[in-house]
Structure formats: structure tokens, C-alpha cells
Symmetry: C2
Amino acid sequence: MREVTTAQTPTRNRGSRRTEILDAAARLFAARGFHGVSIEDIGAAVGTSGPALYRHFSGKEALLAEMLLDVSERLHASAADRVTAASDAEQALDALLNGQIEFALGHPALITVHDRELGNVPEPARRQIRRLQRLYVEEWVTVLSELYPGCPPARLRAATHAVFGLLNSTPHSAGELPPEAMAPLMRAMARAALAEAGN
Amino acid sequence: MREVTTAQTPTRNRGSRRTEILDAAARLFAARGFHGVSIEDIGAAVGTSGPALYRHFSGKEALLAEMLLDVSERLHASAADRVTAASDAEQALDALLNGQIEFALGHPALITVHDRELGNVPEPARRQIRRLQRLYVEEWVTVLSELYPGCPPARLRAATHAVFGLLNSTPHSAGELPPEAMAPLMRAMARAALAEAGN
DNA sequence: CGGTGAGGTTAATGATGACTAACATCCTCG
DNA sequence: CGAGGATGTTAGTCATCATTAACCTCACCG
């Protein structure tokens, strides 16, 4: 029972436990759903048992809230960065697509939890997450509006959600194709779908 | 507390309670997840209280199993019918798309539960559902293979899953667009995405 | 040294929830 | 009428679970 965990220098350990827990919890939540996972399960997944988690998070819901807040922030910030760095709408859309694809393929559990478990986040954080999600969508809609001026925003918003559905499906159909083949395929399909939506 | 429920003739009631329960449960499961819904919740949703459900289903998991089995069967049967009725691969694909879109827009809760809760179905039924889902996908892949011969089936399978992701996202982005506008948009986007995947 | 704080541990505690039991209704069919 | 079945009801029972309490350990800083 030594639990030596490959001794790291204390300074390199900064917050490592928290993120380790968040990672494990994300995988479990993605697989069995928020209510299908117990605190004990999460503890076991990181080699401690149950109530140790309360040294790092104030509760199960708080853990979920932090997880989703972090994802929303990363997605939104990355999108904002990429869009302002792009020189035209074409490139901006490419950058948005790449960002979403990288994230979906790189963090399948987080993406899954992100679009299933918002309902279990308690109210203070819930609103904040929704806000970031909305901003993220608007980032896409703005770029698409520039690219397809005649197209009503409501239609572009629906198309954006549909493309998220397409891209976020990769976690579930994992294994069909290696990621090196999956990424370009998703990019091509998403682009084609958006072009069609824009008319 | 009379609960008169607009008296129906007994014969017209055949199995109505079961399906009423399944409908309510689907909505609840879609909104809060299998483990986030109690038997008591489901009972309340159909105007009875809790344990009355055991007169109709042997338990919560059995209820879910029946729900998912029914969906898989309907999807697969409808797909098989439509494909054999079609005169060529083009029309077959159209028919498959229309079927999936109708179902996703017509039964959003069922679609949501169908691709989230398989993991909570106990083993005898789980295998059966998986089998039907696989057959359903193969129905699509067969049609697509005919339409895009050079394209490796693994790629077509991945593309099919992606399109399901796109089409099944409609329940979540509900309200963006009226269904009369949503259906053609989804059809157009899915077609374009598949054409791109087929090269 | 000594104490303090971070991170764990194992036992409560208190809800909640699935499922069962025992007991009504009431409709139907003989 | 009267037995039977279908369908409910309420009150357990037994697990599971989130959360808290009370107690350890040990690295580090004075």
C-alpha cells in the first residue's frame, strides 16, 4: 500500500492532484453519467478513497461545475484568440474548425460531459457556463455571417449547433478510424455542411 | 383526486398505460439522465405514484431496456423497408435521411436517450440493442458504398456516425428554427457532408 | 525541537431511492 | 351476485451515497 506515485518535486506538483481528479471524474462522468458515479468511484480512480476529495473540492456538484466552467472557458478563449488572429473569415472558420476538432479528439470525455451534464451544475455556475457557451456559438455565427451574408443568423446558429453535433460525435464513434484520418474527414464534412447551410 | 383521465373505452386502452409510461420516462431520462430520475418521478409524471410502475414493468432497467429495444427496432425496420422500397441508391439515401430526420424531430427524447443510456441496459437486452444499431448503421454503409464505390467502408462508417451526430443534435438546439425549416436544413447539410466524405 | 497545514483515513449520519408487502378498488365475466 | 384479474395505494426494507467528524502523518519552517 505504499502509493509512492513517482515522487515529483513539490513545486511541480502544484495543483496536480486537482487536475488529476478532474481528469478521472471526466472519464467516469462521460462513461456513466454524473449520477451514475459516486464520490467513492472517483476517489478510487485516483488511488485515494472517497472523502479525500473534499480536501480539493467542496462537493460533487462543485467538481462538475469547475470542470464545465474550465471547458467553456478554454473553448471560448481559444476561439476568440483564433478569430482575432485570422486574417479573413475563411481562415477564421478554418481556425474555429481546427480548434473544435482538436479539442473533441484530444479530450473526448470532457466534450461528452460538456454537452450532457449542464443540467447538474448548480445555479451560480450554471449561468456562467451558459454564457460562455453562448459566446462561443456567437463567435462561430459572426464568422459565418461574414462568410455568408444573405443567410439569416437563426439558420447559421442552427447550422453551428448541427456541426457541433457532427464534430462531437467522434468520441462515440471512436475506433472507426485513426485520429490522423478522422480529423481531416471531420473537417471536410463540417466545411461542406456549413457551405450548404450558407447557401 | 378523482383522476378521471377522459374515460376511454377499455379496448382503446390496450397497452396505453405502458406507452404512456415509456413516453414520460423517455422525457425524464433525456432531461436528467437515467440515474437522475426516480421511479417516483416517473410515476408522478403519469399521475400515479411510484410503485404502481411495477404493475407494468419489472423494474427501472427493464423499462429502459424496452424503450431502447423498441427504438432500435423501429429505426432498423424502417430503414430496411425504405431501402428495399427505393429504386436506386440515390433514393435509398434520401429515404434513410428522411427517416432519421423525421424520427429525430418527432421523438427528440427517444433519440437522446437512445444514444446516451445504452450503458445502463442490463446484459441480455444490451447485446440485442447493439446488434440492431449495428444493422442500422450497416444499412447506411451499404447504400453509401453503392453510391461511392472507391470509398473504404471504415470511412463511410465514420461518416455515418458523424451524420447521426449532426442529425441527432436537433433535440438539443431545439427552438432555433421551426421544424419546417429545420428538416430541410438538416437534410441539405447531411447530404453535403456525406458527399464530401464519399470524395 | 515543535507546531502547523496539507492531504489522507475510517466511522458515523441522514437522505434518497429501488423494490416488496399487504391491502384496496373496480371492472368484467360467469 | 361474486370471483378474479388488473391496477393502485401506503408503509416498510435494505442499499447506496453524499457529506461530516474525528483522528493520523509528515513535510516544512520557525
